[in-house]
């Protein structure tokens, strides 16, 4: 024992103090991002947007928002749109914990409501797109799935989203409406995982969004079914209250909801609300 106990304790304490001080710095920063309330209220239209913003968007918007952001930057030189894609509920958690987002686009109204209830977004979020479920099967359609009812047939390996996530909630709604009970071999926590099980040929069928099937190209075949219309997901978009560049945030939202944005979204298979 070369080290006296008291000195050991002192040094350890020093370490604790140091770490706490560092922690203090970390938590101090977000608190100061309240921003000046006089900065702007709403889109003024006349002022030319500049600077940069971060857009948090649902994973299913990856292709369209990447395109829309590039178009926007090209049309408005001097602006920079940074994009962050994840599951809507993950993004809500991040924004609630103070992540630096300026715009939030959710894949369902439920997750957006969590933020508007907490007064974390500006005004009332506007729906800018809709999405419906469809059946994705491997190109050869090994289980000969031709309708929603076929999914409940014994021996058909169907993969769906778990009811906790938006696509799973929509699946539950359709099951209830049609009186069909599915016996899935797996309930995934994201729609991309469902699609992955179909493209890899593990599953005979999967319930995904029409936009996913469109994006997957010829790796899967779509089996449309009329009952899908019973569960329409609306995608809302809103500016985040703590945004430091509200002009640019409003301008980007206007671009998404405007004719240019509508066309890109429609091309990807999204509907209009």
């Amino acid at each position: 024992m070369r080290i006296p106990r008291t000195r050991l304790a002192q040094v350890l304490l020093a370490g604790v103090v140091l770490a706490t001080a560092l922690g203090g710095c970390g938590t101090g920063a977000p608190a100061s991002t309240g921003g000046s309330p006089s900065a702007s209220s709403g889109a003024s239209g006349s002022a030319k947007p500049s600077g940069s913003i971060t857009v948090f968007a649902a994973a299913s918007l990856k292709a369209t928002f990447t395109r829309l952001a590039a178009d926007f930057e090209a049309k408005n030189p001097g602006t920079k749109i940074a994009l962050s894609f994840a599951g809507s509920s993950d993004l809500v958690t991040q924004i609630s914990q103070g992540a630096p987002a300026d715009v939030f686009a959710s894949a369902d109204t439920k997750n957006m409501t969590k933020l508007s209830d907490a007064s974390l977004v500006e005004g009332s979020p506007a729906g800018f797109a809709t999405n419906v479920l469809t059946i994705a099967v491997p190109p050869a359609n090994p289980a000969s799935v031709g309708s929603f009812a076929d999914l409940a047939k014994p021996g058909v390996k169907v993969v769906i989203c778990a009811s906790q996530v938006p696509c799973g909630a929509a699946t539950k709604t359709i099951e209830k409406e049609t009186g069909t009970t599915l016996k899935p071999v797996s309930e995934e926590s994201s729609v991309t995982d469902v699609l992955g099980k179909v493209t890899s040929g593990e599953a005979d069928a999967g319930l995904v969004y029409v936009t996913d099937v469109k994006a997957a190209g010829d790796k899967v075949k779509e089996v449309p079914f009329a009952e899908a219309a019973k569960a329409v997901n609306t995608y809302p978009i809103a500016a985040v209250r703590t945004s430091k560049n509200k002009e640019l945030a409003a301008a980007f939202i206007a671009a998404v909801t405007g004719p240019g944005g509508k066309k890109v979204l429609a091309d990807a298979g999204f509907g209009t609300p």
Partner: protein, 293 residues
Amino acid sequence: MNYRRAGAYSGIPRWALAMAAAGALFVLLPLAAMVARVNWPDFIPLVTSEASLTALGLSLRTAAASTVLCVLLGVPLALVLARGDFPGQRLLRSFVLLPLVLPPVVGGIALLYTFGRQGLLGRSLEVAGIQIAFSTTAVVLAQTFVALPFLVVSLEGALRSAGSRYEAVAATLGARPSTVLRRVTVPLVLPGLASGAVLSFARSLGEFGATLTFAGSLQGVTRTLPLEIYLQRETDADAAVALSLLLVAVAVVVVGLSYRGPAPVGGRAGSRPGASSGTGSPHARPADMRRAS
């Protein structure tokens, strides 16, 4: 514990102690933050819900099965790597240890293309009437894939630091390789084998990426505790935190066992031959030998 031994060097620079404290905090603080977020009044109902208990039970069962599989495959593998002498041995070791550094999701994809319906072996298995995808077997395979290197690494280290003198003696006395393995080698490296097995169990318990990619997620069949946590997080943060704490508790117990179990309490001070590098002090071997005989 080494510094308690008379004459052992224990000079740790003071700055190292300060950094060590910061390092320990870096690990402990997030855990403390999580504990602080636990909704205690609802804790018991949350962790004893049907879905949670099913997931915990499945996790424990599959992790136990994976550990058995790891021992069955890993002991011969470690033996070949430690004692064998053949071209490509280093390459084989690199490949066997690959899952340690591979993102688990990559392991899942690799397994999918091996045992999946369209996979390398999966097609023949399907013909034979065996379906692995979406089954509990798939979970065990995914866990074994990621956990096997842990057993091989700790056992190979134990084998190397134990040396092969006793085996050589046994062989000159006429014992066959199998007998030497059973009567001399395995008893000699038992502590290393035990800690390797416990580490594999812990790694299996925490497996997430490969399972999600390869096995899917269905309550009672493939949805292990980490997958349940991931799913609960979508809607019920309280449940996710409670289950996380449960998993941490199980992991702490398991890791605690791995570092205390093999060494006899109050015996040889912390010099197990199983501890990876060449710290095996000379008096450790006779002690092990005594236990072995």
